[in-house]
Symmetry: none
Subunit: 334 residues, 2 copies
C-alpha cells in the first residue's frame, strides 16, 4: 500500500529525474513517488512549479500545516477521475431537500453510533464513571427518534451538537488525568491540552478524508451535513464525522494513557495551547500507524486498513448517489 | 471587485510585509493582496510556504497551468470562496429539463448565427455559388421557429445537424479547390483532407474552451447541449459550437486559399487521412495568432482577443446560471 509522507524539517521539495527529492540543511533524500499516497507538510518547505506538475501527474495531494500545526490548505491536483455523471447526482442529492436530509441524517447517525462504540469500549476499562458511560450509551442508542424527527439540517446539527457535548463530558472519566481535563470544547485557539489534541487530530482526519475523496469520482465541494456555506470543502467533513471517534479520540486516549504524550508536549501561546513540534510528530506517526492498522471488515470478510475503510465508505456514498444501494454508515464492532 | 492575477513570467512568489511580492529576472513587483481574488500561474513560479500561509489567511486560491497551458491543479486554502455554489447551479440547470433546453437552444442559436456570419463574409468574395450562399443565409435566419419548437435535446440536435449539413455543403463554393473537396463529413477517421482539417481544428477548439473554463468557476463536466456523461468534458463542447465557425472554419479557408496548407501537408494512413506533423505545426501556429488577434467587442467598446472572447462568453454563462442575466450568445459582426 502507498505511504503518507510527513515532512517536519525545513527545506525544499523538488522533482529530480523520476523521484521526489527533499533537500534540507541536514540531509538530502530521494523519495520514490510511486510509493507515495499523499504528503503532509509541517516544516517551512518551498516547492517548485515543476514539483507540483510532477505530483499532479502522479495524482498525489499535498496538505499544508503552519508552524502551530493549524491546517493551512491543500494542493489538489486536477481531477483524473472525470465523471460529470457523479457530480450531477451529488448535486441532485443536495438540491432536493429530502434527499439531502436523508444523507445528512445518515452521517449524524453514523457519527453517534461511533461515539457510542468508543464509550462501550471504555465502559469496563475505567475506574470511575462506568455507570455514567452506560447511561450515555443508552441515550445515544435512543437518538433514532430525534434524528428521524429532525426536519431540517439545522435541527440535525443540533441533535449532533447535543450528543457530542454529552460525549465529550465522558472524556474526564475515560482519561482521569489531571493534566488533561476536558473543561469545555474550545477551538481557534484551543484553551487546554485536550482540546489542542482534538483540534489537531480532527484537522488531520479531514485531510485524510480529502485525500481519499480525490481517489473517487466524488467532488469534495458538495457535502450534505456540512454544506451550509461555500467557504470550504465539505464532503470530507461529513465523512470524517464517522471516523473521528475511532481514528482521533481513541488515539488521543491511548497516547495519554500510555504517556506517549505528556504536558511537556504542549506549548503555551499568548492566546491558547498547541501541541509542540515533538508532540505533533508523535501524534502524526501514531495516527499513521493506526491508519495502516488492518481490522476485520465484517461485510467484506477480510482485513482492511482504516484508510481503506474511509475509501470504502466513499464508495458506499457513491453507490447511494447513483441509486444502486442505500447508504448505511460504517459501524465498528470493537 | 477583486481581481484575478495572471502570472506568465518565471520567478518567485513571496510574502513581503502585508503584500504579495513577485520577483522575476525582469522585475520586482508588489501586489496588494486585498484586491486579489485568485492567482493563475502559467510561468515557472516557485512559492514559499510562508506565501501559501499568507494566501490561505486571505482566502486566495492558486491555480497552476503547465508549459502548454494545461491545467495542473489548485492550491485551495482551508477556507476559500468555493465554486461549489456555481457547480450546484450548473447541475440545477442541467437537471431541470426546461432550463437545460433553454441553454442548449441558446448554444445552437449562437452556432447557427456564427455559421450564417461566415457565409455572409464569403458571399461576395467567391466566384460561383453566391446565390447558393444567399439562399442558405436566409434559411439560417429562419431557424428561430424550428429552434423554438424543438421540445427535446434530440430535436435541437437534429435542427443543428441539418443546418450544419447545409453549411458544410457551401464549403465547395467557398474553397473551389479540387485538392480540398468537402464530399461529406467523415470523422474518426476523416476520409479526405478537408475533413482532416475540420476534425483537427475542432479538437483544438475544444481544448482552448476547456482551458478557458478552468479560469472560471464553471465545471467543464456539466454541459447542456452535449449530454453530461462519464466519459468526457461537455461544457467546452457546448461553448466551442459558437466559436468553431469563426475560429476554425475561417482559418481553414484562409490557410487553403493562401496555400499555407497544400496536399503535401497530409499523410495517408491505412484507414484515413491526417494532417502531417508539419501541417499540424502550421495550423496550430496560425490558430494561435488568430486567438491572440484582437477584435472590437461591441458591448465592451474595446478590443479583445478571441481567446478572451471565449472567456467572456463563459462569464456570461456563469451570470445566466447565477440568475444575474439571461445568456445571449456572442454574435460576430464581420
Amino acid at each position: 500500500m502507498k505511504k503518507t509522507l510527513y515532512i517536519f524539517q525545513n527545506g525544499e521539495l523538488r522533482r529530480k529525474d523520476n523521484s521526489l527529492y527533499f533537500e534540507s540543511e541536514e540531509r538530502k533524500r530521494y523519495i520514490p513517488i510511486e510509493d507515495t499516497n499523499d504528503i503532509y507538510i509541517f516544516g517551512e518547505v518551498d516547492v517548485t512549479k515543476r514539483f507540483l506538475e510532477f505530483v499532479s501527474q502522479k495524482e498525489v495531494c499535498l496538505h499544508y500545516f503552519n508552524h502551530y500545526g493549524y491546517y493551512v490548505g491543500s494542493f489538489y491536483p486536477r481531477e483524473h477521475q472525470n465523471s460529470g455523471h457523479v457530480v450531477l447526482k451529488q448535486a441532485e442529492h443536495y438540491l432536493d431537500p429530502g434527499k439531502r436530509l436523508q444523507l445528512a441524517r445518515t452521517f449524524v447517525k453514523g457519527s453517534i453510533g461511533q461515539m457510542a462504540q468508543v464509550l462501550k469500549y471504555y465502559k469496563n476499562r475505567i475506574r470511575t464513571g462506568s455507570e455514567k458511560l452506560t447511561e450515555l450509551i443508552e441515550i445515544f442508542g435512543d437518538t433514532s427518534i430525534p434524528l428521524f424527527e429532525a426536519g431540517t439540517i439545522e435541527q440535525l446539527m443540533a441533535v449532533e451538537g447535543h450528543t457530542r457535548e454529552k460525549y465529550y463530558s465522558s472524556f474526564d472519566y475515560i482519561l482521569d488525568n489531571p493534566d488533561f481535563p476536558f473543561e469545555k470544547r474550545s477551538q481557534r485557539p484551543p484553551l487546554n491540552r485536550l482540546n489542542a489534541l482534538i483540534s489537531f487530530g480532527n484537522s488531520i482526519c479531514y485531510t485524510v478524508a480529502l485525500s481519499e475523496i480525490y481517489k473517487t469520482y466524488l467532488d469534495p465541494r458538495i457535502g450534505y451535513l456540512h454544506a451550509t456555506n461555500f467557504r470550504r470543502f465539505s464532503l470530507n467533513l461529513d465523512v470524517a464525522e464517522i471516523f473521528k471517534p475511532i481514528m482521533v479520540d481513541r488515539l488521543i486516549f491511548s497516547l495519554i494513557n500510555k504517556k506517549m504524550l505528556t504536558k511537556k508536549d504542549f506549548d503555551k501561546h499568548t492566546d491558547g495551547i498547541m501541541l509542540s513540534e515533538a508532540g505533533r510528530r508523535t501524534f502524526v506517526s501514531e495516527l499513521d500507524k493506526r491508519l495502516q492498522t488492518t481490522v476485520n471488515h465484517r461485510h467484506l470478510g477480510k482485513s482492511v486498513s482504516y484508510r481503506r475503510m474511509i475509501r470504502l465508505e466513499l464508495y458506499k456514498i457513491q453507490k447511494h448517489l447513483l441509486g444502486e444501494k442505500e447508504y448505511s454508515p460504517y459501524q465498528s464492532l470493537w
